[in-house]
């Protein structure tokens, strides 16, 4: 069991930026162009990206850098990003280093 993380959300048309209160990758950042990309990376950012691709529809790309998760969608998803926030918040409840 981990801790629930806090999420601050900013929406810009088809792009949604999530500011987390903990870091999920190194400073260099990583782009995931599709679910296949995410499946090949076994660190925390890869597992988070895979979970997002699995649970959220219409994602075009995900960019993760430190505590910022930027998701580009194929369409404007409207004002409600609560399902994505829920995935992000819950991620660390189930994730432990070395777990699947």
């Amino acid at each position: 069991m981990g801790q629930i993380i806090e999420v601050k959300t900013t929406k810009l048309n088809k792009t949604v930026i999530f500011d987390l209160n903990r870091s999920v990758s190194g400073q260099e950042g990583m782009t995931f162009n599709n679910i296949s990309d995410a499946s090949l990376i076994s660190d925390v950012s890869g597992k988070l990206a895979l979970k997002l691709f699995q649970e959220i529809e219409d994602i075009e790309t995900i960019f993760i850098q430190s505590n910022i998760v930027t998701i580009n969608f194929y369409r404007n998803i409207g004002n409600d990003a609560s399902n994505i926030e829920k995935t992000l918040k819950n991620f660390f409840i189930f994730y432990k280093d070395g777990s699947n």
């Binding site: 599709n34 679910i35 296949s36 990309d37 995410a38 499946s39 090949l40 895979l50 691709f53 699995q54 699947n100």
Partner: protein, 313 residues
Amino acid sequence: MKVGITGASGFIGKKLSNELTEKGFEVFKFVRREPQKENEIYWSPSKQEIDKEKFGTLDAIVHLAGESLAPKDIFGFLPLSGGRWNKEKKSRIYWSRKWASDLFMKTFNDSESYPKIFITASGTTIYGDHSDEIITESTTKFNRGTFDQLVAEEAWEEPLNQLQKSDVRVVKARNGFILGRGNIATQLITLTTKLNISGPLGKGTQFWSWISIEDVINAYVFCLENEDVSGPVNFVSPVPMEQKEFSLRFAKVFKKLSIIPAPQIAINLLMGSELAHGLIFCSLRIIPEKLLKEGFEFQYPLIEDYAKALKDE
């Protein structure tokens, strides 16, 4: 679970039968002759005959039967051999699939008792050449005009639209370029690599969507067990790549070079242009979105890992 398999003596069928038996499934094999064992079921696609009684007792069917697209051995590529796509071979490829699909749909529709899962092999060739465009199961644009595309669409998948039973879960397993010990493609790639004569085929920029036989078997089992999986499913590894890159990475594992190009015209002459296009030059950059979304884990996601496994065997 009682699972009936067609093509059970083929490259995939043999391995899948063994895997399912090991996992505790009850495996039944469809045979075209008089059944000699309790676990054999008679069918004859060309005569449109099937043992309906035994068909009705099954929980699932995995339909793999069909004339092989590739020749059985290296000599099959030679002119006048039976492996090239001449009129007769093309007819066998097409009708072996069409008759079987038609027979199953008719049997489902006419039966009161029937399996609730139908998994049929198909091919990623259904998409047709897409150059470097990424293809997922959501891709509905098929680039038509080649024989292998026509076979996958018309003979494998279209007949399934006739199914009138809404409680049957149908999975269309679109198999990519399968690598594994014992198949002709793997033998050729391994041989040319070992002899240091591998390299770009044609321009080498065509994408290959490959998958290991081990992952193919695991994916069939996954689709049988996972009730959420239905419709088209791409059976390909997560990393499609250009053929020249594929060849380079493969050769690196064997500590060989991959620099000798083979002109497209020479390969066309050797194999016939249709077969060469189907097996080598059709560019398919496919990702297995549905399998990954459902949580399938690949044993060999990277070609380097699989080349190493082949080398170490």
